[in-house]
Symmetry: C2
Subunit: 158 residues, 2 copies
């Protein structure tokens, strides 16, 4: 399994290159909104649960150290895009919720991100993209049992 390596065939290298290409494109697309990939991710995640997300959960979901989340939330909060309120049930938790303005910026951002993505993904068949998504999820979250939030994608082909 380790014969005649060409770096252009190395999956780790290709992941890094592809990730960089897309991230740069997304970053450029988000610049007009004053967002970067990370702050966009935070904003996107705050929209997935109306009750709010704890910073700890943001860190887990984004694969970051909790200390890195602080500055991201600080910035969004100072711009009035999210609020940071202690959870009444457990005051150690801070619940991050998008403001109305934050929701507006988020949907604008999602459009821009989609445009940027389409520049790279549009030419690739939808089935390939679905398989790509599935495989990437396996790599990115190796511990997750796929049946948890995935039950429909059954590749099992050829």
């Amino acid at each position: 399994m380790s014969v005649n390596h060409s770096l252009a065939d190395d999956l780790g290298f290709l992941l890094s290159r592809a990730s960089g290409v897309v991230a740069r494109s997304v970053s450029d697309a988000l610049a007009p909104l004053g967002l970067r990939v990370r702050s966009y991710s935070v904003l996107a995640l705050t929209g997935e649960d109306g009750a709010g997300v704890t910073q700890r959960r943001l860190a887990v979901l984004m694969g970051l150290d909790p200390s890195q989340v602080v500055a991201l939330v600080d910035e969004l909060e100072s711009r009035g895009l999210v609020t940071r309120t202690p959870d009444p049930a457990d005051r150690r938790n801070k619940l991050i919720v998008a403001t109305e303005q934050g929701c507006q910026v988020r949907s604008q951002a999602q459009q821009l991100v989609d445009q940027a993505h389409s520049g790279y993904f549009a030419r690739i068949p939808q089935g390939d993209l679905d398989r790509l998504r599935h495989v990437l999820q396996q790599i990115a979250f190796p511990d997750e049992t796929p049946t948890e939030h995935e039950a429909e994608t059954s590749t099992a082909g050829e």
Copy 2:
């Protein structure tokens, strides 16, 4: 194509997460050899052409700015793993060639990288990995016509 975003389904996000997971693992695996992902890539690329590789070409292949290549080559050169000699045909070019010791370290490194990769890729069917590689190449090198430098590898795939 842009409905009901969940970040866990966002290809850009998944690329970044997966890339980070694998890169960290590879980086840890290479630590005993005093290499990081970047320096390993340089070393790997020097092995693909016996005549040597120019720094400019390294920069293009790795998607880096030429100025970033300098420090990488400096480090490998100071460790005696590569040599940096002016091209007699065009003395602006510096040809980077792996030394004998560099070749030894490279093959050790490739084994370690393979082990690290297998931790993530082994459970994924080979056909899926081939498709993944192909799609990633399209994303990472959108301008390339795949037949250009893929004519000789003839991996008997598809």
